[in-house]
């Protein structure tokens, strides 16, 4: 009943927060566009045969000399900007979401266990988290990328780029999950229902995942939203630095890096349209994150 009311209340608040509705719509639109990119995009940016250099550097339709076929213009290779962005967002979201999933599984697993068992296990996990916290996320991700370059043979590196990038982002984000899961598990441990479950002799894994986990989902959901934004930003930053993805499979960050070359020339759309798109995506996710935080933390309201 309480859970239902809470859900109901959240929905009620959502309907009364125009900003969150707009944010949700923008995010949904971008995510849908990314999912259906192969079907709605004009050209396939990965397939060199599907676009031609003769269409290069066309401006968006509202400027002179545009081709109405390419609504937001084309880049120097003749790639349609909309298609490039849709595919770029697709890649950014795939990497962001997989990194987030891995981070959540590792973080929540360790955090739950640390909160449940306490003692020495807890101390070890938290010390590792401390060291991880001393190294900021970008640094960790860069480091993992550098290690991968050192360990993997050059031939495989190209194929594993996406995997390495995902892992690098995941390993720099797990701490947030671990700390939140641990802190909330500690609170739940003192509740009667957990004590009862333990008394009844239920297996620790069952107590952790069936009893405690559903009750700490709220705060974890907030972390997830905020960290999805971080993951996308991190991927964009790494790709921008030229450490992430190669130019032939561009994510949003790579598109912006390519666009940088046109900063001094008149082709503003190659840089600013992907940039605007990235900002819109992250801003709307962050607004939703803020909204969720307010719901799960009524004290701030």
């Amino acid at each position: 009943m309480i859970a239902f009311l809470k859900k109901y209340e959240g929905l009620w608040l959502f309907v009364h927060s125009p900003l969150s509705i707009v944010a949700a719509m923008v995010a949904t639109l971008i995510i849908l566009g990314a999912i259906f990119a192969p079907w709605i995009a004009l050209v396939n940016p990965y397939d060199l045969a599907s676009f031609s250099l003769f269409d290069g550097l066309l401006p968006p339709v509202w400027q002179d000399g545009a081709n109405p076929k390419y609504l937001l213009g084309t880049d120097d290779q003749g790639r349609d900007m909309i298609s490039a962005i849709l595919y770029g967002a697709r890649l950014s979201l795939i990497i962001g979401l997989s990194a987030l999933t891995i981070a959540a599984v590792i973080g929540v697993g360790l955090g739950l266990a640390a909160g449940y068992y306490g003692g020495r296990f807890d101390a070890v996990v938290m010390r590792i988290a401390d060291v991880q916290l001393a190294l900021p996320a970008i640094l960790t991700a860069l480091l993992i990328d550098g290690i991968a370059r050192g360990i993997l043979p050059t031939a495989i590196q190209q194929d594993l780029h996406v995997a390495v990038l995902t892992l690098a982002i995941a390993l720099s984000l797990w701490v947030n999950f671990a700390r939140t899961a641990r802190a909330t598990t500690f609170v739940q441990m003192n509740k009667e229902y957990v004590q009862a479950a333990i008394m009844m002799g239920q297996r620790p894994s069952r107590v952790m995942f069936v009893h405690i986990l559903p009750n700490i989902l709220g705060p974890l959901l907030v972390i997830m939203t905020v960290d999805l934004a971080s993951a996308i930003l991190l991927e964009a930053t790494l790709s921008f630095l030229g450490i992430g993805l190669p130019a032939d499979s561009p994510s949003l960050g790579t598109l912006i890096r390519i666009g940088m070359q046109f900063l001094l020339s008149g082709e503003w759309w190659i840089l600013w349209i992907p940039t605007l798109f990235l900002i819109a995506l992250v801003v709307s996710i962050n607004i939703l994150g803020d909204f969720l935080r307010d719901i799960f933390n009524p004290r701030l309201r």
Binding site: P136, L139, L143, D145, L233, F240, L241, L278, I279
Partner: protein
């Protein structure tokens, strides 16, 4: 109190050891140091001799102890790429990064703290809503995009400020400073703002949350009931009590400033440690990567240690706790 300081110091030493261990493992296990140091023509026998000479066949633990000992004496080894001592390469770059970071931090505090206090005291005002919305957009714009925007606006369109390099520098001992020339300050401005903006939003949000928390506390309500003038209440009673968290922020943000300086330095071609680190990753220059890691961790640990000691100086309650 002595116990507290001692405990914190021992903790710091442990974190440093852990990071040194990480750097050492990097050096030892990512690629073979011998193949990195020798050319293709070196014979296997020569390679083995070098391996023995450098002590790479010794037990792991004694290698690590020697590695740490060398580091403590300032011997950081040689870069694979440039063959220069890593210590020289890093110390040459430290001033640029530290000056950039400190100025960015000052910008973030100068604007972040007042904005945080204002938005906390007038939570329903139109300005508060505007500021909050702006900061939400602010945290969502990646640092490198802010840098590009500033370059585009002030460098390309208006042509007011340089967009790369450090401008004129002055040599003071080993410290190459750009804080004493006008062209140095002009070059510093855009990177420092870029780096400061993200930190500014964090500062503001944390100060705001803290201030709102304090304003709700009993002693503020009581002071209000006593009829303490509102100005005194806000700036004497409340603000002073948000000082401790503000100092924590400085400690926490230092790590962020250093990390994001990698990005900022890349955008503005600022010749600091971050740029060096990026190059070392691109070329898999493991010794430079490892040392950068240790140096950053050292700064981080040092700043946080100072922050913890400052707590004790600022907050009398922490001093009392020891007496009990």
């Amino acid at each position: 109190m002595v116990y507290f300081i001692l405990k914190r110091m021992i903790q710091s030493v442990f974190v440093m050891l852990a990071v040194a261990f990480l750097a050492f493992s990097l050096f030892r296990f990512v690629g073979d140091p011998i193949t990195q140091m020798t050319g293709v023509e070196t014979s296997v026998a020569d390679q083995e001799r070098l391996r023995e000479e450098l002590g790479l066949n010794d037990p792991f633990v004694s290698q690590f102890i020697r590695f740490t000992g060398d580091m403590l004496q300032g011997d950081f080894g040689y870069s694979y790429r440039t063959r220069q001592p890593v210590a020289d390469m890093i110390t040459e770059r430290v001033p640029a990064t530290l000056e950039l970071g400190v100025v960015a931090l000052i910008i973030s505090l100068l604007f972040g703290v007042p904005a945080g206090v204002y938005t906390a005291l007038k939570p329903r005002g139109i300005w508060t809503q505007t500021i909050l919305m702006t900061t939400l957009v602010g945290v969502s714009i990646p640092t490198f995009v802010i840098g590009i925007m500033l370059i585009f606006l002030f460098g390309v369109q208006l042509g007011w400020l340089p967009t790369f390099g450090r401008g004129g520098t002055v040599q003071i001992g080993n410290w190459e400073s750009s804080l004493f020339t006008i062209s140095g300050w002009r070059a510093l401005l855009l990177p420092a703002i870029t780096l400061g903006v993200y930190q500014l939003t964090l500062t503001m949000r944390l100060v705001r949350a803290e201030m709102m928390e304090v304003m709700r506390s009993d002693y503020i309500r009581f002071a209000m009931a006593r009829g303490v003038p509102i100005r005194v209440l806000h700036y004497k009673h409340a603000l002073v009590n948000t000082m401790v968290p503000v100092i924590t922020i400085i400690g926490l943000q230092f790590g962020g400033v250093i990390a994001f300086s990698i990005v900022t330095e890349s955008v503005f071609q600022w010749p600091g440690m971050g740029l060096l680190f990026l190059e070392s990753i691109r070329f898999v220059d493991i010794p430079v990567m490892g040392v950068y890691l240790v140096v950053i961790a050292f700064f981080f640990v040092l700043v946080n240690l100072v922050v913890d000691l400052l707590y004790v100086a600022i907050d009398p309650r922490l001093r009392l706790r020891d007496v009990e």
